[in-house]
Protein backbone atom coordinates (compact mmCIF):
# COMPACT_ATOMS: atom_id res chain seq x y z
CA UNK A 1 0.00 0.00 0.00
CA UNK A 2 1.25 3.47 -0.85
CA UNK A 3 0.98 6.48 1.42
CA UNK A 4 1.03 10.24 1.02
CA UNK A 5 3.68 11.50 3.42
CA UNK A 6 4.67 14.98 4.51
CA UNK A 7 7.22 15.84 7.16
CA UNK A 8 7.20 19.15 9.00
CA UNK A 9 10.13 21.20 10.31
CA UNK A 10 9.11 20.63 13.94
CA UNK A 11 9.64 16.90 13.51
CA UNK A 12 5.96 16.14 13.06
CA UNK A 13 4.39 14.40 10.10
CA UNK A 14 1.22 13.67 8.26
CA UNK A 15 0.43 10.54 6.30
CA UNK A 16 -2.55 8.73 4.89
CA UNK A 17 -3.02 6.04 2.27
CA UNK A 18 -3.28 6.75 -1.41
CA UNK A 19 -6.80 5.72 -2.40
CA UNK A 20 -8.14 4.07 -5.52
CA UNK A 21 -8.14 7.34 -7.43
CA UNK A 22 -4.40 7.72 -6.90
CA UNK A 23 -4.65 11.45 -7.38
CA UNK A 24 -1.47 13.46 -6.78
CA UNK A 25 -1.37 15.54 -3.61
CA UNK A 26 0.68 18.70 -3.72
CA UNK A 27 3.41 18.93 -1.08
CA UNK A 28 3.33 15.20 -0.31
CA UNK A 29 5.70 12.49 -1.37
CA UNK A 30 4.35 9.03 -2.09
CA UNK A 31 6.03 6.19 -0.21
CA UNK A 32 5.52 2.42 -0.21
CA UNK A 33 5.69 2.22 3.58
CA UNK A 34 5.85 4.57 6.51
CA UNK A 35 9.48 5.19 7.51
CA UNK A 36 10.56 3.35 10.64
CA UNK A 37 11.54 6.51 12.51
CA UNK A 38 7.93 7.67 12.29
CA UNK A 39 6.55 4.26 13.27
CA UNK A 40 8.85 4.32 16.29
CA UNK A 41 7.46 7.67 17.45
CA UNK A 42 3.82 6.65 17.12
CA UNK A 43 1.72 5.21 19.94
CA UNK A 44 2.94 1.65 20.32
CA UNK A 45 6.34 2.49 18.86
CA UNK A 46 9.55 2.12 20.83
CA UNK A 47 10.22 5.85 21.01
CA UNK A 48 6.68 6.95 21.75
CA UNK A 49 6.43 9.17 24.81
CA UNK A 50 3.06 9.42 26.42
CA UNK A 51 4.15 12.16 28.72
CA UNK A 52 5.99 15.38 28.14
CA UNK A 53 8.38 17.04 30.54
CA UNK A 54 6.55 20.14 31.87
CA UNK A 55 9.78 22.10 31.52
CA UNK A 56 9.86 21.28 27.83
CA UNK A 57 6.33 22.61 27.51
CA UNK A 58 7.34 25.81 29.30
CA UNK A 59 10.43 26.19 27.12
CA UNK A 60 8.33 25.74 24.00
CA UNK A 61 5.83 28.35 25.19
CA UNK A 62 8.59 30.83 26.02
CA UNK A 63 10.24 30.24 22.67
CA UNK A 64 6.96 30.89 20.94
CA UNK A 65 6.45 34.04 22.99
CA UNK A 66 9.97 35.19 22.18
CA UNK A 67 9.41 34.59 18.47
CA UNK A 68 6.23 36.66 18.62
CA UNK A 69 8.01 39.49 20.46
CA UNK A 70 10.84 39.43 17.93
CA UNK A 71 8.35 39.66 15.09
CA UNK A 72 6.62 42.57 16.82
CA UNK A 73 9.98 44.28 17.32
CA UNK A 74 10.87 43.89 13.66
CA UNK A 75 7.52 45.28 12.67
CA UNK A 76 8.00 48.30 14.93
CA UNK A 77 11.46 48.87 13.52
CA UNK A 78 10.12 48.70 10.00
CA UNK A 79 7.41 51.24 10.82
CA UNK A 80 9.92 53.63 12.38
CA UNK A 81 11.96 53.63 9.18
Amino acid sequence: MKFYLKRYPDGGWEYSPVGLDGEPREGFEIVDKIPQDIRDKEPGGKDYQETVDPQDVKIAMLEEEMATMKADLEELKARKV
Binding site: M1, K6, Y8, D10, G11, G12, W13, E14, Y15, S16, P17, V18, G19, L20, D21, R25, I34, R39, E42, P43, G44, Q49, E50, T51, V52, V57, A60, M61
Partner: protein, 177 residues
Protein backbone atom coordinates in the same frame (compact mmCIF):
# COMPACT_ATOMS: atom_id res chain seq x y z
CA UNK B 1 -83.15 -27.09 -1.89
CA UNK B 2 -80.21 -29.26 -2.80
CA UNK B 3 -79.58 -27.08 -5.81
CA UNK B 4 -79.58 -24.01 -3.62
CA UNK B 5 -77.07 -25.54 -1.27
CA UNK B 6 -74.83 -26.44 -4.19
CA UNK B 7 -74.88 -22.86 -5.51
CA UNK B 8 -74.17 -21.55 -2.07
CA UNK B 9 -71.16 -23.86 -1.68
CA UNK B 10 -69.91 -22.75 -5.06
CA UNK B 11 -70.28 -19.11 -4.10
CA UNK B 12 -68.37 -19.74 -0.92
CA UNK B 13 -65.65 -21.48 -2.88
CA UNK B 14 -65.41 -18.54 -5.26
CA UNK B 15 -65.38 -16.07 -2.45
CA UNK B 16 -62.71 -18.05 -0.71
CA UNK B 17 -60.71 -18.25 -3.91
CA UNK B 18 -60.96 -14.51 -4.51
CA UNK B 19 -59.89 -13.69 -1.00
CA UNK B 20 -57.10 -16.17 -1.25
CA UNK B 21 -55.93 -14.65 -4.53
CA UNK B 22 -56.19 -11.19 -3.08
CA UNK B 23 -54.16 -12.16 -0.07
CA UNK B 24 -51.67 -13.91 -2.29
CA UNK B 25 -51.30 -10.74 -4.34
CA UNK B 26 -50.76 -8.74 -1.18
CA UNK B 27 -48.21 -11.21 0.08
CA UNK B 28 -46.41 -11.18 -3.26
CA UNK B 29 -46.32 -7.39 -3.17
CA UNK B 30 -45.08 -7.43 0.40
CA UNK B 31 -42.37 -9.92 -0.53
CA UNK B 32 -41.31 -7.73 -3.43
CA UNK B 33 -41.15 -4.66 -1.22
CA UNK B 34 -39.21 -6.56 1.42
CA UNK B 35 -36.80 -7.80 -1.25
CA UNK B 36 -36.25 -4.29 -2.51
CA UNK B 37 -35.75 -3.02 1.01
CA UNK B 38 -33.26 -5.77 1.69
CA UNK B 39 -31.34 -4.92 -1.45
CA UNK B 40 -31.31 -1.20 -0.83
CA UNK B 41 -30.98 -1.03 2.92
CA UNK B 42 -27.41 -0.43 4.00
CA UNK B 43 -25.99 -2.82 6.52
CA UNK B 44 -22.75 -3.17 8.44
CA UNK B 45 -20.09 -5.59 7.29
CA UNK B 46 -17.04 -6.62 9.24
CA UNK B 47 -13.70 -6.24 7.54
CA UNK B 48 -12.22 -9.71 7.81
CA UNK B 49 -8.63 -8.83 8.39
CA UNK B 50 -7.97 -5.14 9.07
CA UNK B 51 -4.43 -3.90 8.56
CA UNK B 52 -2.16 -3.60 11.56
CA UNK B 53 -0.62 -0.44 12.94
CA UNK B 54 -1.89 3.01 12.20
CA UNK B 55 -3.63 3.74 8.93
CA UNK B 56 -3.19 7.51 8.97
CA UNK B 57 -1.85 10.11 11.34
CA UNK B 58 -1.16 13.81 11.56
CA UNK B 59 1.00 15.37 14.24
CA UNK B 60 1.90 18.66 12.59
CA UNK B 61 0.78 21.08 9.92
CA UNK B 62 -2.62 21.69 11.46
CA UNK B 63 -4.47 24.94 11.31
CA UNK B 64 -6.98 24.99 14.11
CA UNK B 65 -10.64 24.86 13.12
CA UNK B 66 -10.15 23.94 9.48
CA UNK B 67 -11.50 20.88 7.68
CA UNK B 68 -9.99 21.11 4.22
CA UNK B 69 -6.49 19.90 3.49
CA UNK B 70 -5.74 23.12 1.62
CA UNK B 71 -6.30 25.16 4.78
CA UNK B 72 -4.61 22.89 7.31
CA UNK B 73 -7.12 20.08 7.88
CA UNK B 74 -6.61 16.35 7.40
CA UNK B 75 -7.94 14.42 4.40
CA UNK B 76 -7.98 10.63 4.59
CA UNK B 77 -8.85 8.38 1.68
CA UNK B 78 -10.39 5.05 2.74
CA UNK B 79 -11.39 3.94 -0.76
CA UNK B 80 -8.79 1.18 -1.01
CA UNK B 81 -10.00 -0.38 2.26
CA UNK B 82 -13.74 -0.61 1.63
CA UNK B 83 -16.00 -1.46 -1.34
CA UNK B 84 -17.15 1.22 -3.72
CA UNK B 85 -20.36 2.76 -2.46
CA UNK B 86 -19.46 2.48 1.21
CA UNK B 87 -21.39 5.08 3.17
CA UNK B 88 -19.57 5.01 6.48
CA UNK B 89 -16.91 3.19 8.43
CA UNK B 90 -16.37 2.28 12.04
CA UNK B 91 -12.81 2.99 13.02
CA UNK B 92 -10.65 3.44 16.10
CA UNK B 93 -9.17 6.90 16.52
CA UNK B 94 -6.74 8.20 19.09
CA UNK B 95 -6.19 11.90 19.68
CA UNK B 96 -3.75 13.42 22.12
CA UNK B 97 -2.55 16.90 22.92
CA UNK B 98 1.01 16.29 24.03
CA UNK B 99 2.42 19.76 24.20
CA UNK B 100 0.10 22.31 25.72
CA UNK B 101 -2.98 22.86 27.79
CA UNK B 102 -5.58 23.71 25.19
CA UNK B 103 -9.03 22.25 25.17
CA UNK B 104 -9.36 19.02 23.27
CA UNK B 105 -11.85 18.97 20.45
CA UNK B 106 -11.91 17.27 17.08
CA UNK B 107 -14.44 16.93 14.28
CA UNK B 108 -15.01 14.62 11.33
CA UNK B 109 -17.14 14.87 8.24
CA UNK B 110 -17.44 13.18 4.88
CA UNK B 111 -15.09 15.00 2.55
CA UNK B 112 -16.43 18.26 1.12
CA UNK B 113 -19.78 17.85 2.84
CA UNK B 114 -21.61 21.03 1.81
CA UNK B 115 -23.91 20.79 4.83
CA UNK B 116 -21.13 21.24 7.34
CA UNK B 117 -19.09 24.39 7.65
CA UNK B 118 -15.37 24.36 6.89
CA UNK B 119 -14.83 25.95 10.30
CA UNK B 120 -16.55 23.59 12.75
CA UNK B 121 -15.50 25.41 15.92
CA UNK B 122 -16.50 28.90 14.80
CA UNK B 123 -19.69 27.53 13.30
CA UNK B 124 -20.65 25.42 16.33
CA UNK B 125 -20.85 22.19 14.35
CA UNK B 126 -21.39 20.34 17.59
CA UNK B 127 -23.12 17.37 15.99
CA UNK B 128 -19.96 16.55 14.12
CA UNK B 129 -17.63 16.27 17.04
CA UNK B 130 -15.34 13.31 16.87
CA UNK B 131 -14.21 14.05 20.41
CA UNK B 132 -14.76 16.73 23.01
CA UNK B 133 -13.28 17.04 26.44
CA UNK B 134 -13.19 20.02 28.74
CA UNK B 135 -9.91 19.08 30.32
CA UNK B 136 -7.11 21.57 30.01
CA UNK B 137 -4.46 19.07 30.99
CA UNK B 138 -1.69 18.40 28.52
CA UNK B 139 -1.25 14.78 27.47
CA UNK B 140 -4.90 13.98 28.00
CA UNK B 141 -5.90 11.52 25.28
CA UNK B 142 -9.22 10.78 23.66
CA UNK B 143 -9.82 7.47 22.01
CA UNK B 144 -12.53 5.10 20.89
CA UNK B 145 -14.32 3.59 17.94
CA UNK B 146 -16.24 6.12 15.90
CA UNK B 147 -18.56 6.01 12.92
CA UNK B 148 -17.31 8.28 10.19
CA UNK B 149 -19.28 8.99 7.05
CA UNK B 150 -17.46 8.96 3.75
CA UNK B 151 -17.89 10.86 0.52
CA UNK B 152 -18.75 8.96 -2.67
CA UNK B 153 -15.01 8.79 -3.31
CA UNK B 154 -14.44 7.17 0.08
CA UNK B 155 -12.87 10.18 1.79
CA UNK B 156 -13.28 11.86 5.16
CA UNK B 157 -11.91 15.09 6.60
CA UNK B 158 -10.81 15.86 10.13
CA UNK B 159 -10.42 19.14 12.00
CA UNK B 160 -9.02 19.97 15.43
CA UNK B 161 -9.40 22.80 17.92
CA UNK B 162 -5.68 23.13 18.54
CA UNK B 163 -2.78 22.91 16.12
CA UNK B 164 -0.91 20.93 18.75
CA UNK B 165 -3.23 17.94 18.66
CA UNK B 166 -1.99 14.64 17.24
CA UNK B 167 -4.49 12.32 15.59
CA UNK B 168 -4.01 8.65 14.84
CA UNK B 169 -6.49 6.62 12.84
CA UNK B 170 -6.43 2.83 12.79
CA UNK B 171 -7.53 0.62 9.91
CA UNK B 172 -11.32 0.50 9.53
CA UNK B 173 -13.03 -2.35 11.33
CA UNK B 174 -16.45 -2.26 9.66
CA UNK B 175 -18.12 -0.57 6.74
CA UNK B 176 -21.70 0.41 6.01
CA UNK B 177 -22.82 -0.58 2.51
Amino acid sequence: MEQYAKVLRRLEELESLEISDYIKTLLDDADAVAARMTLDAPSWHKIANPGTGWFASKTAGWTADRFTIATGGFLVNFSAQVPTGTKAIRVFTYIINPSDADLHRAWARKASDPNISNTPLASSEDSHHLFYTNTDTANRAMSGQKVIWLSDAGKAEFAVSSANLDIYIAYPLEYLL
